[in-house]
């Protein structure tokens, strides 16, 4: 008789799901650099969400009498630009734009990349076609591709989002495909098939969650690239148009005054640098934390 109960005491398991996340989080914040990065990202998020509350001044309000004030001036602690606009308030509002564009571009890119990656990893037949298409996209330098897209669609922030997301698709597709290839050989996928699950169900419900770790890492790192690219495109005049307080556009505007008021390019430059650094560091730390986290056995 074996239908009898196997005696083995189990404590109550209720909080297991949170527990796995908590473990990853604990591992993440053991990394000191990750904390620095997380703090910077949190600050940016706070600035983006609470921009009107933090700064009382309209970022686009010109006052030519107060133009090119240096850092540390009373009332304008980061100085003003050539039109007398408060740089601090422009940085704060700029955080909003860079975060929005970053999130938008990365999520759009993820949707495309994940679908392509799943299809090409799962169906051998589609693999060749999709991967050659992806190779084709890889052959294009990213910023050139983005410029081409913007040249076709016209200059605006929305088009920047689209351009950068298209550029994220091939990398994402490759990463997802790689994970799918190894996951679909796992016995639990064959077991799911043996239970009569459809391909779509297996792909999205069973394979995709198992690819979560590399996708999360990719998305975080990609945020850095997306923010940097937005700044680059705006700097080239292809993204945000004046007077939008976009960091890249601020640097572009400050170029002429580089020698007289260097803070006009230094301040937004530092802002971009810090944010890009933060996302990269956090992405890196996430990779380490999730790597151990995903080996769920013991």
């Amino acid at each position: 008789m074996s239908t009898e109960v196997v005696t083995q005491q189990m404590p109550a398991h209720k909080k297991k799901k949170e527990f796995a996340l908590l473990k990853t989080w604990k591992r993440l914040i053991k990394n000191k650099m990750a904390i620095v990065g997380l703090v910077i990202i949190a600050l940016q998020l706070f600035m983006a969400l609470a921009a009107p509350a933090i700064v009382g001044v309209d970022p686009n309000k010109q006052n030519l009498e107060l133009s090119e004030l240096p850092i540390g001036t009373e009332g304008h602690w980061l100085g003003t630009d050539n039109y007398g606009r408060d740089i601090w308030s422009r940085i704060v509002y700029g955080a909003r734009i860079s975060l929005l564009v970053g999130i938008g571009a990365v999520s759009l890119g993820l949707v495309g990349g994940v679908i392509l990656g799943l299809l090409s990893g799962y169906y051998r037949r589609l693999d060749g076609i999709i991967m050659r298409f992806v190779d084709l996209m890889f052959a294009f330098p990213g910023i050139l591709l983005a410029m081409l897209v913007i040249a076709i669609l016209g200059t605006s922030l929305v088009n920047v989002v689209i351009a950068i997301s298209i550029w994220s698709i091939p990398t994402c597709a490759r990463i997802v495909r790689g994970s799918v290839l190894s996951i679909k050989k796992q016995e639990y996928i064959i077991a799911m098939k043996s239970l009569g699950a459809s391909d779509l169900r297996i792909m999205f419900k069973h394979v995709l969650p198992n690819c979560a770790a590399p996708i999360i890492v990719f998305a975080t790192m990609r945020m850095a690239t997306a923010i940097l690219s937005t700044a680059s495109l705006s700097f080239l005049g292809l993204g945000a148009q004046p007077p939008t307080p976009e960091w890249g556009a601020m640097i572009a505007a400050g170029q002429e005054y580089m020698w007289t008021s260097p803070h006009m390019i230094v301040v937004p430059g530092i802002a971009i640098m810090l944010v890009v650094f933060a996302f990269n560091v956090v992405g890196d730390a996430l990779r380490d934390a999730l790597d151990q986290g995903m080996s769920l056995d013991k």
Partner: protein
């Protein structure tokens, strides 16, 4: 006579490879009756798992059934559309796998995975499926089943996971269960429990079972009938007593004398020399002749016919022909 659930006739499964089409199963025929347990035994690579996957329609993408028919409850599975097969799998035929550690999805709870087939096939609501899941876990002997439903696979031991797998496979009351070496990856004590469990459940649910194994101990424990496969061919079949007491094929005898005997201290293991031929090896005549101690001229040139030993026991070996002539002395003295 009990009715036949599964009838496999002359099944040929081939794999596309760099060397062309290679046959992994070469004309296997067997049948499973209602409520019966059929064991498929053989070394690794003899085609027993591929036979099972052919039945399930789960061959890897480079594998294909090129000939023969698989009739399950009078429906030919070999010619069914993928969609029909999908409906059948998990519902009428289901399968349990060798490695319980990897056969459950690590990112979902046990409950999620046990509810899924119930919701797909029986269109139960989540709540109903949950209740049924708890019943199923109880049926396979899992303690505190309600709590287990919220646990992840990595929190369970190997034996527990295999029980969960069995519960999932049986969730829709299939008429045929295919078990692909379900005990190989488990501890010996757990093995016995799982074998007992399968035996009990088979009787309780009145289903048929195909057990794939290379463990003769398991065979003796559970089988009604046995087929022995070698290099993609069924070389001997018969009732379990016949196979153990009066094996005819030299390979079957070899398999039996490769099993350690605890009771007899003088028992010497006699391993079968050599190894299973590769799929792409071309062997004339009987595919076992390079390893067979009794091979003679005919074995090198002609593929053996099937000889009936009793009404249930069949064997493919030329030695049988001589047995017929010499009054059965020679083969039994092997």
């Amino acid at each position: 006579m009990k009715d036949t659930v599964l009838e496999v006739t002359n099944l040929v499964t081939k794999f596309k490879s760099a060397d062309g089409l290679l046959p992994a199963v070469r004309g296997a025929s067997f049948s499973v009756k209602k409520g019966e347990t059929l064991c498929i035994v053989g070394e690794s690579g003899c085609g027993k798992s591929i036979t099972a996957l052919s039945i399930m329609g789960l061959l890897p993408s480079n594998g294909r059934i090129t000939d023969g028919s698989i009739s399950f409850n009078n429906k030919n599975l070999a010619s069914m559309s993928p969609k029909e097969m999908q409906k059948l799998r998990g519902n009428d035929v289901s399968m349990i796998f060798q490695e319980p550690m990897t056969a459950l999805n690590p990112v979902f709870t046990v409950g999620f995975q046990i509810r899924e087939p119930l919701m797909i096939h029986q269109k139960l609501s989540k709540k109903q499926a949950h209740a049924r899941g708890i019943e199923l876990l109880k049926m396979v002997g899992i303690p505190s089943p309600a709590e287990r439903m919220n646990q992840f696979p990595h929190e369970l031991s190997g034996g527990m996971r295999q029980r969960v797998m069995i519960a999932i496979a049986l969730s829709c009351n299939p008429s045929l269960l295919i078990a692909d070496e379900p005990t190989t990856a488990l501890d010996v004590t757990i093995q016995a429990q799982i074998i007992d469990l399968l035996n009990d459940l088979k009787e309780k649910l009145d289903m048929s079972m195909i057990m794939i194994t290379h463990d003769m101990g398991v065979v003796a424990e559970i089988a009604d009938r046995v087929i022995v496969m070698y290099a993609g061919e069924v070389i001997e079949e018969g009732r379990v007593e016949e196979i153990f007491e009066n094996p005819q094929h030299p390979y079957t005898k070899g398999l039996l004398s490769s099993v350690p005997n605890v009771d007899d201290p003088d028992f010497e293991l006699k391993p079968i020399a050599g190894s299973m031929p590769m799929l792409n090896e071309k062997i004339s005549g009987c595919r076992f002749h390079p390893r067979c101690p009794h091979a003679f001229d005919k074995c090198f040139s002609e593929s053996p016919k099937t000889f009936s030993v009793t009404d249930k026991q069949n064997v493919r070996c030329w030695l049988q022909e001589e047995v017929g002539q010499n009054g059965g002395r020679r083969a039994s003295s092997l």
